[in-house]
Amino acid sequence: MRDGETKAEAGRGHLKLVGAGLPGHHALSCRNLTYRAGGRPLIDGISLDLVRGGITAVIGYNGAGKSLLLRLLHGLIRPSSGEILWHGEALSPAHRKLQAMVFQKPVLLRRNALDNVVFALASHGIHDRERAEDALFRVGLADAAGRAARLLSGGEQQRLMLAMALARAPQLLFLDEATASLDPASIQAIEEIVLDAVAAGTKVVMVTHDLGQAKRLAGEVVFIDRGRKAEAAPTDSFFNNPRSAVAQAYLEGRLPHQFQIHRSQA
């Protein structure tokens, strides 16, 4: 983060900082990414270039394929066709170790908070208890180190997930509705942690239904509709002047065309 720059500006600033369109500056790219299940495409020919640094928000209606897109980009699911490139190379399991993902529902081992972070570090060959303690301190959970992870509150559990992710100093962090169903204080705490990570150089790609959060944090928005990329634009441009009709409908809180048909038939 530069002098005088706020955390939020750090999250939104990447479009200014990075030469868009230069392949060497893309942390992650995908070309014609397609994923089929049951004979129909759930992700349909998406091409994206995610530049280094800053925050990209992925938004869209329920069932549009946002979470699936994140899983594909992270390499958790093998695409039916298309390619995913990490700094210009085909994404491999080794590259996945440079990334981290926080899921909507925290996945915590039946151990105490500290041991969860220790486990995450050990999976990367890092056996450093102090680093795990430091990660807990950074997310404000130093006092909860010895408590069973599964007995922490929802907000604390999600902060613990972030500690597990950030302890590994990932180059890219995926957040899949990480703040859904949390109270405003917990959301604010998590946003602070995410902005700190971005200021430290981590690229964040987040799925969210919270448009306020997308406006507050993201530098660019990717809008997904029925498995396709309907629009990708800088945040201000997307919210002030959405180009696609479906994004306009979404921002105005209207039901998309396909849902209206179903409702009138019911």
């Binding site: 958790l76 996945r96 151990r111 999976s123 408590r147």
Partner: protein, 235 residues
């Protein structure tokens, strides 16, 4: 009814007297069953964890086979071990027939599928919960097996208990391969069968009571352990 009450009282007195022969039978039963449980856990837990984590062609068929083997008839297992260990059998040269080792072997074969099948179910559920997290961490298969075995430890203790229960109460296989030889291979279940057939209800009932107490004590211990672990957020 009076005879039954008297037999019950006599049995109780026999337990309290801690007669050397009685203690020997109980001790051998526990030795055989605990050793068989330990061995079956070593094999069955690893097999169950591997089946829970690995994906390969024929996996479902192997799961069905392991599940079906939970219902192995003890006498058939006893006969199988007997044929292998008898002088004319392939392992007759080991001279293990009618020894506690043969009984341990038979019980291990009998209860390993129980451990494998039950642990596979427990660990597959756990792996379903952790799977994406493990994949995101880039954790290898062995790392996943180690993690779910550790995290599922309280549920797996119950699996081990089920195996021990089956083992300590089993009579068909151990009587075939052990022969119920006094001071050598006589265990609680074979002694109960023998003494009942002889009409010596006092010893049979005393051994039966010990069996019940062991089952209740182990169950109580495991239940309280699981309850504490659950309350503390570790199960």
């Amino acid at each position: 009814m009076q005879d039954f009450a008297r037999a019950f009282a006599d049995s109780f007195r026999q337990i309290l007297a801690l007669d050397a022969g009685f203690v020997e039978i109980v001790g051998l039963s526990l030795r055989v069953s605990l050793t068989a449980t330990l061995l079956s856990c070593l094999i069955g837990l690893l097999l169950g964890a591997w089946l829970a984590v690995a994906r390969f062609s024929g996996r479902q068929a192997l799961i069905i086979l392991v599940n079906a083997m939970m219902g192995l008839p003890p006498v058939v297992v006893g006969l199988f071990v007997y044929l292998n260990l008898s002088r004319a059998g392939p392992f007759g040269w080991l001279g293990l027939l009618y020894t506690p080792t043969a009984m341990i072997l038979a019980q291990t074969i009998l209860i390993t599928p129980i451990v494998a099948a039950l642990s596979r179910q427990v660990l597959e559920d756990l792996h379903g919960e952790y799977g994406e997290h493990f994949a995101s961490l880039g954790l290898g298969r062995m790392g996943q097996v180690r993690a779910i075995l550790w995290d599922g430890r309280y549920s797996l203790i119950t699996v081990a208990l089920a195996a021990f229960g089956r083992s300590v109460a089993e009579v068909g296989a151990v009587i075939i391969v052990g022969g119920n030889i006094e001071h050598l291979t006589r265990v609680m279940t074979t002694a109960i069968a023998l003494e009942t057939s002889k009409g010596n209800l006092q010893l049979a009932m005393a051994l039966g009571m010990v069996l019940l107490v062991i089952a209740l004590a182990v169950n109580g211990l495991v239940s309280s352990l699981r309850l504490s672990a659950s309350r503390l957020g570790y199960a």
